[in-house]
């Protein structure tokens, strides 16, 4: 039995029935990591010994939890107590957190095992995982291409069988876009649905931790565990968490979904368009009523996002000054020189670009024209979406405007930022959105479909995605 090709639900069942030991599961995944990492480079840290020790502990327990013995890859901007957490930045290169993120604590309380920490664009700022300070990650479907980003390490690890599932973070599409590029399922939950405690802040009003898995059911099981209010995050929601797995089997025939017309699809890769149309036909076959709808405010979403996210980043990343933790410039200069030299040496080019952009947008004389205007635009986008959700249950879009692109193909920042065109809206509005693989391009690259729903409607999204998944049967496509 190949344990690394099984999904979370299947492995869970085998471990619960004692047909397989957690230790065997971890050993199989560590072997897989050994075999695949030279080609993929998904992990910044592999927790081999720790993971095996934990697996043995779980094998001895009577009631080891819902996710007992399952190896989970954690994006390296989610803190893990006593395990190095770098954010793929030189400035946190040796940082070992004294505590774990609430999402990680919840996973571990249910017996899940952190198998390693995965690569990302530095501090989550990027769409390709090329902007890591350490090395780039490659797409398991075609190693000449990027895995997407910024959660490219987690997506690549899950797609290549190095972990059964993973956690990423999504500020403008950073779970969904790599999920689409790597042929896995990824969810950005409602803002507040999952605690952000221990997620290293990039843009606090947009950031959410989200799961990546090889099926909708696995994604739902993981969300079930990590969701819920948290006294350690004042922006987390104490709304009850529904039983997502049970919701998968509900009837959904009376649902309505909005889709984008031709105008919104201008400039989109033809194969993405074709996959989108196939996805819509599949939904129609499932009995979903489809309604074409324009979203005129969306054309401002990217510009709005690229003011708000860098503004928040410039404030959040002010903490990296070489004083309390992280790298410090070893020079003997003044305090101000230490700040300057530490930050200048510690941050990479994209992080500097976004800090500068945000500093500018918040600076005296420009605040009203940029930050205040973006905040107003964000509310305009939210009002448009709120109106749409009075008429439909879902909004369906492609996840990305193109399949995974070649490594090094997008040197111009604006061209890279356009990768987020379909995903940023959900972050601006705080609504949940899921990407699931819908097919392959002619060159064998996965293509993703995005299902957006209203606040806290994750159960409905999982349900629709589950039906669609059964219809399109993407799992029959295998990585060469």
């Amino acid at each position: 039995m190949n344990l690394t090709s099984l999904g979370l639900a299947e492995l869970r069942s085998l471990i619960h029935k004692k047909e397989v030991k957690a230790e065997e599961v971890i050993q199989a995944h560590l072997k897989r990591i050994d075999d695949r990492e030279k080609d993929i480079s998904a992990f910044l840290t592999v927790c081999g010994e720790q993971a095996l020790a934990r697996a043995r502990e779980i094998d001895r327990k009577k009631d080891p939890g819902k996710l007992a013995g399952l190896p989970i890859a954690i994006k390296d901007n989610i803190v893990t107590g006593q395990i190095r957490t770098t954010c793929a930045s030189k400035i946190l290169g040796n940082y070992v957190p004294p505590y774990s993120a609430t999402a990680v604590t919840k996973l571990e309380a249910e017996g899940a095992i952190v198998i390693g920490k995965t690569n990302l664009d530095e501090f989550g700022m990027g769409s390709s995982t090329e902007k890591s300070a350490f090395f780039l990650t490659k797409n398991p479907w075609d190693t000449s291409r990027v895995p997407g980003g910024s959660s490219g390490g987690s997506a690549a690890a899950v797609a290549s069988g190095e972990a059964v599932a993973g956690l990423g973070s999504d500020t403008g599409g950073s779970v969904r876009q790599p999920a689409a590029f790597c042929g896995v399922v990824g969810l950005k939950p409602t803002y507040g649905r999952v605690s952000r405690y221990g997620l290293v802040a990039y843009a606090s009003s947009l950031d959410q931790i989200g799961p990546l898995a090889r099926s909708v059911e696995d994604c739902a099981l993981l969300t079930q565990v990590i969701a819920g209010g948290d006294p350690l995050d004042s922006t987390s929601a104490s709304e009850p968490v529904p039983d997502y797995a049970r919701a998968l089997d509900r009837d959904l025939t009376s649902a309505r979904a909005a889709f984008l017309g031709d105008k919104a699809m201008e400039g989109i890769d033809p194969e993405v368009k074709q996959a989108y149309v196939r996805g819509l036909h599949a939904l129609s076959d499932l009995g979903i009523e489809l309604v074409e709808r324009d979203f005129p405010a969306w054309k401002y979403a990217l510009a709005c996002y690229y003011i708000i996210a860098p503004s928040e980043a410039s404030s959040n990343l002010a903490r990296y000054d070489g004083v309390r933790y992280g790298a410090r410039d070893p020079g003997q200069g003044s305090l101000k020189e230490m700040y300057l030299n530490t930050r200048t040496a510690g941050f990479g080019e994209e992080v500097k670009r976004r800090i500068l952009l945000g500093t500018f947008a918040l600076s005296s004389g420009y605040y009203d024209a940029y930050y205040a205007k973006a905040t107003q635009t964000r509310q305009f986008i939210c009002r448009e979406l709120a109106q749409a959700f009075r008429e439909v249950d879902f909004i369906i879009t492609p996840t990305t405007p193109e399949p995974a692109f070649k490594i090094g193909a997008k040197e111009d920042p604006i061209t890279m930022y356009l990768s987020d065109v379909f995903t940023v809206t959900a972050n601006l509005a705080g609504i949940p959105a899921l990407s699931l693989p819908i097919g392959l391009s002619q060159t064998g690259l996965p293509l993703g479909l995005q299902v957006m729903g209203n606040h806290f409607r994750e159960a409905d999204i999982f349900q629709l995605a589950f039906l669609l998944e059964k219809k399109v049967q993407f799992e029959n496509n295998k990585i060469n």
Partner: protein, 97 residues
């Protein structure tokens, strides 16, 4: 056209320094990005909304104002670049004349 951004001033505010090579690349990119995001000025809004926006669709919960456990001094200092006698050590703040 005069670029809308004084890169030296913004770098000083952000406590960053750019090398000559970085400046050559970043300065024109910044101008281009600022022009691109400036498209928002074309949007005329009847309802400007509030200046502060929270994406959580619920009222923010308050908690009781009570003390809780926190990191020990040793844990808090474990990642400090330089420490001395239970304190973080930094360069002299008040410079000698």
């Amino acid at each position: 056209m005069k670029p809308p951004i004084d890169i030296n001033y913004v770098c000083a505010l952000a406590r960053l320094e750019l090398s000559a090579e970085e400046r050559t690349i970043l300065a024109p990119q910044m101008v281009k990005i600022i022009e691109w995001v400036g498209q928002l000025s074309n949007l005329r809004l009847n309802d400007p909304g509030s200046e502060v926006f929270c994406p959580l669709p619920l009222p923010l919960p308050f908690r009781e104002d009570e003390t809780r456990g926190s990191l020990s001094v040793e844990e808090a200092l474990a990642n400090s670049p330089e420490k001395n006698c239970g304190f973080i050590k930094v360069p002299r703040v008040i410079e000698e004349k």
